[in-house]
């Protein structure tokens, strides 16, 4: 067994970078902060690859040929009860190692890219400090040894996302978006927390190794019917999934994601495409053995995933802001991952969905990050987010164009690019579970191809827009990451995932099922064809179709008015009908009662003090009358 304790460095380096750059960043030249951050991540990247190599190919396997969970490092952080305690540590198993690779790769690319993209921005070193903080939190999240450590880093991820979305803090829309992202995910995290509390109450442990072991207490305790016909454990899993749904922008907690595009584009690439938003998927995968035992909870995951994927795909077809299209696309893809987890069984071939989900997570990270970074390069060149301002860019930005095309093909699921393989596995897993959902996902697949190529044609083909100054290709620091990620998007699908990352660690064989693969590729091709017809040249077809669909397309364009519903609930109900009355109640009733007591005392004393008139004769009268009454009382009335 190799000692894996060096993996803690992968976490610590970004933390140190964050502290150093955060505290002293203003004293350096901006570029120094950038270089320090990038170097830190580069070391982390190298270490992660080294770890992955060691884990997968040298010493990860246990006696039975399955990958085991390795506790690389652990340290007591806080004692709670005699059974419950929070540890900080590093847990290595296939999914966490896979995530390490994904995160360090994308993060490193984004760091590199940002040196060019953010050059000259005010707050350059603040940006890099926060990126490092994010990387640290995200890495801590994936290697968490227990669910509470995960929750801790989960929150940290949330706050670094808040800081990064609100990077342009003088822009009101960015501030609002960051606030929205934080509060929505925070609300979801409340569910996560309640889930953790219920889980820990039932099982008496936070530890992942104990929780997911075959003799896990989670499988035996908390099974009795508790509420609405479901067991405590099922409820706790549903609540935990709520946390995951919040971070992963699943319907109906997705509303923050499109707005989060207010952040700088590299941030969107890192956080809102490849890493943070898949945390929910990762969370479900992490607790998968328990989910597997609670069928209702897993069904919830499946339906929410499936609905989110189709919902987002429909909305994506109507958006004009290129980053929003990508955001909805992300939501749709993550929905597919959730769906895959939801349909999956546990162990060996049964766990195909699990494997597919992780596989798609892996490949998606590459091509989605690539798409975002490409979009960033375009925005950098055009100074606009909106499709209408673009067109014919393929001549001006050849590298961006080529890499973007690769990514579009990959996400559309065209073989032999990476997206094809992972999506195929998802569809195969769905096919095993339910025909209806399989068709839904097939539709999503086609829609994905359609809106991606709609995007592609609108940016790089279509009308020949006249620009104020000719757009030019991005500098090398930006194109280099594009090219590296394009390689990933091309070849990531060739990784033999089924033999590396599976639900129970046992490798199994997969093969491409033609009955699934052919419809999938066809759906993609149909989508691409329609997009080509509609958008390659500037026509009025899209507008006509948009108008034909009438109310539906309008609703889709307005994101089905979910935002408005939320706004109604928060602004109207919470602010006006809860908070305002509470404030009023406090000032007038509670405080009024206190002031009322004071007022009554005051008033009474005011009345009484009138007796103190200063008129000696009045006093004397009272005195005499009193004395006489007493005399009367004592002499005649008390004569017994």
């Amino acid at each position: 067994m190799i000692d894996f304790s060096y993996t803690v460095l992968i976490l610590l380096i970004p933390l140190v970078v964050f502290v150093v750059v955060g505290l002293f960043g203003n004293r350096f030249k901006p570029i120094v902060s950038g270089l320090v951050g990038t170097t830190g991540l580069f070391i982390g990247w190298v270490l992660s690859i080294f770890t992955a190599y060691n884990y997968f190919f040298v010493s990860g396997k246990g006696a039975e040929g399955a990958f085991v969970k390795v506790l690389a490092f652990s340290m007591r952080w806080l004692n709670l009860t005699d059974k419950l305690h929070i540890d900080m540590g590093v847990l290595l198993d296939p999914i966490s190692v896979m995530m390490l690779i994904v995160i360090t790769t994308v993060s490193f690319m984004v760091h590199l890219y940002s040196i060019g993209y953010m050059a000259g921005e005010k707050g350059f070193s603040r940006f890099f400090a926060t990126l490092s903080l994010f990387s640290f939190s995200m890495l801590g999240l994936v290697v968490a040894t227990n669910i509470f450590q995960m929750y801790i880093f989960w929150e940290l991820v949330g706050v670094s996302s808040y800081l990064l979305i609100g990077f342009y803090y003088t822009k009101d829309s960015a501030v609002a978006a960051s606030k929205k992202a934080f509060i929505v995910t925070r609300f979801a995290d409340l569910g996560f927390l309640i889930g953790i509390l219920m889980l820990s109450y039932a099982t008496g442990t936070f530890d992942f190794i104990k929780l997911t072991a075959p003799d896990s207490p989670a499988l035996t305790s908390g099974q009795g019917v508790w509420f609405l016909g479901l067991s405590t454990m099922t409820w706790s899993m549903i609540f935990i999934f709520m946390g995951g749904a919040g971070k992963s922008a699943m319907f109906p907690l997705h509303i923050w994601l499109p707005d989060a595009m207010e952040g700088p584009t590299p941030v969107s690439a890192l956080i809102h495409a490849a890493t943070m938003v898949v945390a929910g998927v990762y969370l479900v995968a992490r607790l998968f053995p328990i989910y597997h035992m609670n069928a209702v909870a897993l069904d919830v995951v499946m339906y929410v995933g499936a609905f989110s994927s189709i919902f987002a795909a429909v909305v994506a077809c109507t958006q004009y802001d290129i980053k929003r299209v990508l955001a909805y696309s992300t939501m749709s893809q993550i929905g597919m991952m959730m769906f895959a987890l939801g349909v999956s069984g546990y162990g060996g071939e049964e766990g195909l969905g699990f494997m597919a989900s992780m596989f798609h997570l892996f490949t998606h990270a590459f091509f989605k990050a690539l798409l975002f970074l490409g979009a960033g390069a375009i925005i950098h060149a055009v100074h606009s987010n909106v499709m209408q301002d673009m067109g014919g860019l393929r001549k001006h930005m050849p590298i961006t164009h080529a890499t973007f095309l690769i990514a579009c093909l990959a996400i559309a699921g065209i073989p032999p690019l990476s997206g094809f393989f992972s999506k195929d596995e998802i569809l195969a897993a769905g096919h095993m579970k339910s025909m209806f959902l399989f068709i839904v996902e097939l539709t999503v697949s086609g829609l994905t191809a359609f809106y991606m190529f709609r995007l592609y044609y609108n940016i790089f083909w279509g009308k020949n827009t006249h620009y104020h100054h000719t757009p030019h290709e991005a500098p090398l620091t930006m194109t280099l990451p594009l090219m590296i990620l394009a390689l990933g998007a091309l070849f990531a699908g060739l990784v033999p995932f089924a033999s590396l990352v599976t639900s129970d660690g046992m490798p199994f064989e997969t093969h491409i099922e033609l009955g699934v693969a052919i419809p999938a590729v066809l759906a993609g091709l149909i989508g691409i064809t329609i997009a080509t017809l509609m958008y390659r040249k500037e026509t009025n077809v899209p507008e006509r179709i948009f108008n034909t669909l009438g109310g539906f397309s309008k609703a889709a364009f307005n994101k089905f008015y979910i935002d408005e519903v939320y706004l109604f609930i928060t602004k109207k109900i919470l602010f006006n009908y809860v908070s305002r009355p509470v404030a009023w109640f406090d000032r007038h009733i509670v405080d009024g009662a206190m002031n009322g007591m004071a007022y009554v005392t005051n008033e009474a004393s005011d009345r009484v003090k009138k007796l103190q008139s200063g008129q000696v004769q009045q006093y004397a009268l009272v005195f005499v009358s009193g004395a006489l009454l007493l005399a009367l009382l004592f002499i005649y009335l008390w004569t017994n």
Partner: protein
């Protein structure tokens, strides 16, 4: 009964004088007339003292001594009171008790 005059008569005289004094104290506005009312009250008490002394305890002198002391105290009181009244008059140019409510509340 003292040589034909019952004790009760003295007491009734004293009582009437006392309450007339009380009445005067309660209604008169001028400080000096209030002072006079007080003198009435003191004197009525003196009458009671001496009457009790003579009729109920003929061999003793306590009542008389009390009266003497009361007279002394009354003298002291009157002198101080008049000093105060004159002082008040100097400040306020009147000695109407109703207008003196500086110390109310």
């Amino acid at each position: 009964m003292f040589e034909g005059v019952p004790l009760t008569w003295f007491l009734i005289t004293g009582t009437i004088m006392f309450f007339v004094g009380i009445y005067g104290f309660l209604v008169r506005k001028n400080l000096i007339t209030m002072l006079m009312s007080i003198e009435l009250i003191l004197n009525s008490v003196n009458i009671n003292f001496v009457a009790f002394n003579k009729i109920l305890y003929p061999g003793h002198l306590e009542g008389m001594f009390f009266t003497i002391f009361i007279i002394a105290v009354a003298a002291a009181e009157a002198s101080v009171a008049i000093a105060i009244i004159i002082n008040i008059y100097r400040r306020l140019v009147n000695i109407d008790v109703e207008k003196m409510n500086e110390m109310k509340y």
